[in-house]
């Protein structure tokens, strides 16, 4: 449908070397954060939890319950989930991530399509925008924690599968950035470009397909990257009222209840969950680089 896309020619500036550099930087920053984390712990212990001279407690306690050592977090990922069950926590969490990512992906596709459709509708009919936009905005001010159980319960009523209900909750968080950026993108062509199409006697559909949508593609991808993370969060939150035992949501719930006895597991789960979100965003970014040709780069 979008014809922005034909001959891309890839992205010559992204050489192998620059990719390696990106990865090295990423790892360096992760390492730096781990060092800062451990340094804070060490400082907390050295000062007995009180800021010297002021006599006030440090903001966060650095003991092993509140802030377990980075290496014990890593260790916990490789311990057995339960004694006797021959499975380490990491594998268990990766399975849970896969489960949650599937819901997130379904929600992402539903939400992005809905958001794009709404954006197109709003640009075509300004009255629709004026009528519905306030509700679109309002929908995002309602806490998702309150919406999620309602969707699940209504889903049960109307025979929608629980799985789909969770995907819809993910879609609920996904569509908003897409609506906003689709609108901006569809309106981004210069006035003269629209006049030009008009002078050709182009129909609304032709203006949309040949001018507005291709112009909107970069804007939409910006939104999709935001939406990708939001859909993972939506799926995790949706799993709680749905009572799914297999996803990241339940893991987070269980490990936060057992925080006092084993905080490392919660930290480990948080790490894996954010890695899952990161992976999703990276995938969207990779698609973006393939689809958007070199034309939007600065002239050399």
């Amino acid at each position: 449908m979008v014809e922005a896309i034909e001959e891309t020619g890839g992205e010559p500036t992204r050489t192998l070397w620059s990719r390696i550099r990106t990865v090295v930087w990423f790892l360096a920053i992760v390492g730096l954060m781990a060092i800062l984390y451990e340094a804070y712990k060490a400082m907390w212990e050295a000062t007995d939890g009180t800021i010297p001279l002021l006599g006030i407690d440090w903001l966060v306690r650095g003991n092993d319950i509140t802030m377990p050592h980075t290496w014990s977090i890593i260790d916990s990922l490789f311990e057995e989930v339960q004694r006797g069950r021959n499975e380490i926590l990491l594998v268990d969490l990766l399975k849970a991530s896969l489960f949650t990512l599937r819901e997130a992906l379904a929600g992402f596709v539903i939400g992005a399509s809905f958001g794009f459709g709404l954006g197109v509708l709003f640009v075509r009919f300004p009255l629709a925008e004026r009528s519905f936009m306030p509700y679109v905005v309002a929908s995002q001010t309602v806490p998702i924690l309150a919406i999620a159980p309602i969707v699940v319960i209504w889903g049960r009523r109307f025979g929608v599968s629980q799985w789909m209900a969770v995907a819809i909750i993910a879609a609920y968080l996904t569509f908003f950035p897409v609506v906003i950026n689709t609108l901006r993108g569809l309106r981004s062509p210069q006035a003269t470009a629209t006049e030009l199409m008009r002078s050709y006697g182009a129909s609304h559909r032709e203006v949309l397909v040949k001018l507005q949508i291709p112009a909107a593609v970069p804007y939409i991808f910006t939104a999709l990257k935001v939406s990708a993370t939001a859909s993972v969060i939506g799926a995790i939150i949706g799993e709680l009222p749905a009572g799914f035992p297999d996803g990241l949501g339940r893991k987070l719930l269980v490990f936060s209840q057992r925080f006092a006895s084993g905080p490392e597991k919660l930290y480990g789960t948080v790490l894996v969950a954010s890695a899952a979100g990161f992976l999703f965003v990276s995938l969207v970014g990779a698609v973006e680089r393939r689809l958007i040709p070199g034309t939007r780069r600065v002239a050399s």
């Binding site: 030009l196 008009r198 002078s199 032709e206 291709p214």
Partner: protein, 263 residues
Amino acid sequence: MSSGAPAVAAAGVGKVFVGDSSVEALQGIDLTIQQNDFIALIGPSGCGKSTLLRLVGDLLAPTSGSLAVNGKTPNEARLAREYGMVFQKATLLEWRTVLKNIELPLEVMDFDKEEREPRAREMLDLVQLSDFGDSYPWQLSGGMQQRVAIARALAFKPSILLMDEPFGALDEMTRERMQLELLEIWDRTDTTVIFVTHSIPEAVFLATHVVVMSPRPGRITDVIDVDLPRPRGFETRESPRFYEKLTEVREALRRAEPEPDRQ
């Protein structure tokens, strides 16, 4: 000269922009443009020359008066695809190659697929960019982009070319070369050109008639025939007749100025 009708016939045309404070952009425009004329619209900012161009091109509707293009209403003429437009900004679609940009109007106008590319290539030859069909707009200089815009405007052989300060953003040297090229194209294509400009030498060098306009409200104060010999070239700009015409237009512009600007 296909039909006997003039390219443009305007009688008592006025345009009021209604808003918080209504602005009378044009008042009582009477103007007849013959087929194959090259008309330059010149005047200070706010004299409504771009508005007049947009009225002719059916991008705006007049508030009063009557306007006919090739014997039709502007709307009929637009739907019959009789207008090619070129703006100050080239307005090329950045995701399309040069060739695909020129094919854009042909796609919209449902030209046969096989016909589009040869036609676009022919236009590229016309503006001397034959080797750049597969380039993207950002790879071209401003002057080259503007030549692509002209090629795109001519691709479907419109009978009227509407140009809104098309060379306004170009440097002086490029500008003079583009003016020469435009005259050659005009010579070869049987097109009527309406050309909005701020530049007196540009208007005199290009036009068969210079239409002088004045602001508040926008109106036509003079029409000056430029009977310099053709083909015009670099020596035209150095001829005494050219200077006489420059002076004539400059004095017409000064007469048109209602009072010295207070700002």
